[in-house]
């Protein structure tokens, strides 16, 4: 942290073993003799006007994740250093990425310059293995270790560079093993027997005898396309233009693989280090750059706080997170295909602007309890059910059945509107199992003119129905012609002595 000129030194404190100690400090504090791990009272004695802040692990982590997201401008493989709370490191695997910025040295220099410009003090090291880079960044001086040179370079470093626990480092130090070189030259078996296998594993990882994979924070995209700008972009038109260019550049590779875009992610890297991310899902695999552009434009328009361009974006990247096989559609002679495409485009547009979970379709559940027999699912998560009735999902075959039955009997048995929760009413009804004669619902009294029923709906047979009451449904019409679907909960005398009545639906 760079403090402002003429501002008091800044330190970050934490409670360690019941004492408030300094865990981080800035250059001004260091210059005046404050050291890490000092108690705050000692530091205050040295520098009375010290500015203290309590450490906050959650915010530290959020900041580190923010930096990690920004580091994706160099490589998609960015991982957190370690789970230890005090460790604020990142791993970046830049295999195959360095040439994009003009070589390894240029990449490291660019990364350091940009992070320093954002106000961070960073220590960087580029090496063949994550372990070697970790050790050298913390305990060494070299910025770039040449290929194959990490074995030599690590030897003079402290054993702390092997990512071991402090207790282990202390016990190694007690027997005089202070540098990595000491351990590397000793026979392996006695060392492993005395200090555990972890020492040898970490050593092997650092020296490259054992491969170590880093786990990136974000899933790696199947395809991505990016543009860098010397002059940051701020205008909506320019951004749209770049999105169109990016979209058309991913179409060719998608075509070659026979895929279409299902889930895309647009990343906008702002000059000041902030990264905006826009995600987009489509109902069908998509290959049309204009439609991809339009969906992203809807997505931007649907943001509650407008996309904040600040001082502009200097890098934009379009990633294909998920792609599905593209069904080549043969254009039909008549208009059928065109209308389907129009419907899909509408669903995508609505989902992009309003949110995917706001556009839903019915799905059926395996039960006959009315309020649980169906649900609504976002269209985007339903795979690819056709919008047309002809390509109905297999589950909906069950729904066609009551239609035929109803048509055969010419009696409509199910209401058009169902209440999510049945509502309790006060009812006058015949005992034991007659229809209601009069009921009071939502503050209004209705006189029953005619009724049909009962239709008994009981607990599912595959459940243990002990204690569950069955429902006797009645279709009821009042004197004004309103038609209701209501039920008595429990059989009189057998399941309960005082059954309640509930309102459950309205007929057309």
């Amino acid at each position: 942290m760079d403090a402002h000129p003429e501002a008091p030194p800044v330190v970050v404190t934490d409670t360690v073993k019941n004492a408030i100690r300094i865990v981080a400090l800035d250059e001004a504090a260091r210059a005046r003799g404050v050291r890490a791990n000092q108690t705050l009272s000692d530091a205050r004695a040295l520098v009375p006007d010290l500015e203290c802040h309590q450490t906050d692990d959650a915010r530290n982590r959020a900041l580190l994740l923010g930096i990690a997201g920004w580091c994706e401008r160099y490589t998609p493989l960015v991982a957190l250093g370690s789970a230890a709370p005090g460790d604020h490191g990142l791993f970046m695997d830049i295999t195959g990425c360095a040439h994009l910025l003009g070589g390894e040295a240029a990449l490291v220099a660019d990364l350091e310059a940009r992070l320093r410009a954002q106000g961070f003090h960073v220590r960087l090291c580029l090496a063949d293995t994550p372990g070697a880079a970790w050790a050298m960044a913390r305990y060494g001086q070299t910025r770039i270790i040449a290929e194959g040179g990490h074995g030599e370079a690590l030897l003079p470093l402290s054993v702390s560079g092997l990512r071991l626990s402090p207790a282990l480092v202390a016990s190694l130090g007690r027997v005089g093993l202070k540098t990595i070189g000491c351990i590397a030259s000793l026979p392996r078996a006695p060392l492993a027997a005395r200090f555990g296998a972890e020492v040898m594993q970490r050593l092997d990882q650092a020296l490259g005898r054992e491969t170590e994979a880093i786990s990136p924070i974000m899933p790696v995209a199947e395809l991505s396309s990016e543009r860098r700008f010397a002059e940051p972009l701020t205008h909506q038109d320019e951004i749209s233009h770049v999105i169109a260019t990016l979209a058309s550049s991913i179409i060719k590779p998608l075509e070659r693989r026979g895929l279409g875009l299902r889930h895309g992610r647009l990343k906008l890297f702002r000059v000041d280090g902030h990264v905006s991310e826009l995600s987009l899902q489509t109902a069908r695999p998509l290959r049309d750059p204009q439609r991809i552009l339009r969906l992203f434009e809807e997505r931007i328009a649907g943001l509650h706080d407008d996309l904040d361009a600040g001082f502009g974006f200097d890098l934009m990247r379009l990633e294909v997170v998920r792609a599905d096989p593209f069904e080549g559609v043969q254009a039909e002679m008549m208009t059928g295909h065109a209308t389907d495409a129009g419907h899909d485009a509408l669903i995508d547009r609505l989902g992009a602007r309003l949110g995917l979970d706001r556009v839903q379709r019915f799905v059926l559940a395996d039960t006959h309890i009315p309020e649980r027999s169906f649900g609504r699912q976002p269209v985007a998560h339903l795979g690819a059910p056709g919008p047309g009735a002809r390509r109905s999902a297999a589950g909906n075959a069950a729904l066609a059945e009551p239609a035929d039955l109803a048509a055969a009997r010419e009696i409509i048995t199910r209401p058009l509107i169902l209440f999510d929760r049945p509502e309790l009413m006060q009812t006058i009804a015949e005992v034991p199992d007659g229809p209601p004669l009069q009921f009071r619902w939502r503050g209004v009294t209705y006189e029953v003119a005619g009724s049909e029923g009962p239709e008994r709906i009981a607990c599912e047979w595959w459940r243990d129905g002990r204690g569950a009451r069955s429902r006797d449904y009645f279709r009821v019409e009042d004197r004004q012609g309103y038609r209701f679907w209501l039920f008595r909960h429990g059989l009189y005398g057998r399941e309960t002595s005082d059954p309640c009545w509930y309102m459950h639906g309205l007929f057309a």
Binding site: L346, R361, G388, L399
Partner: protein, 299 residues
Amino acid sequence: MSLSRLQTATDILRTHTRMQEAQAHQSRPAALVGADQVSAPLALGASAVDRHLEGGLACGGLHEVRSPLARDIGAATGFALGLAARAMQADRGGRRSIVWVSDPATRGDGGGLFPAGLAQYGLDPSGLTFVEPCDLQGAMWAADEAAGCAGLAALIFQIKGNPARFDITATRRLMLRARQSGVLALILRQSGEEEASAAATRWRVNTHMSGADETYQRGVGALRLSLTLERNRAGRTGQWLLAWNPKVRSFNHAAPDPLSRTSPPAHSLDRLSAAADRRDPSEKMGQVLDHRQDFGRAS
């Protein structure tokens, strides 16, 4: 005398506009293939209503269905779904889906569409797409988008009351988009007052006692609606008693029930046109709640 002269004058004016519209229709570019098919009117199935509407409802256009009382929502939904089902049945160039956009205020009653109840309209539940934005503005945008989508059979836009933001400009936009795309756009207004809008027709729906059924003496038989055509841009208003026939999926005329208290007049009604910019009545302290208007709930 003067009144009849005025009527003649309006008649002439109306005929003139209609001729102009017809000419405009004929001079449409040939690029709009199937345009005449799209603009074929949608017959309800009940002969007197279709004759009154000169063939049926304009398919690419906006129509409003309103229920004055909240509890009439079942009947109004039934009528709107019946129209949508007829539009789908007409199979105008493979349009087979319905989009249902609802204003979040309509969820207050706790009721939702029941898929098993759609069977009587012959609608496949998976052909219905629900859009439920988090505010009215989003809902109006979604309705606009859907009305402009040529792949749809029908759009149903459900709102509650008379929100000030959904004004005559918004309805005009919906009307224009629906006319271009050929979508049957329906506004389903629950517990709303009549309000001037750009819709071609406005229907008020009330439930009506079901008639006696041979299967069940006291039963809930054929479902009936008392329909009032409150506003009709292209002609006269009227009032009918209709029933939905699930077997042939069309509306039928229902014989008036002798028990019913009000029998619909046979002639068309002279009505005053509704005021634009009608607001929901403001809630005052100590206001007497109209139970019929709002299910007895102060929402």
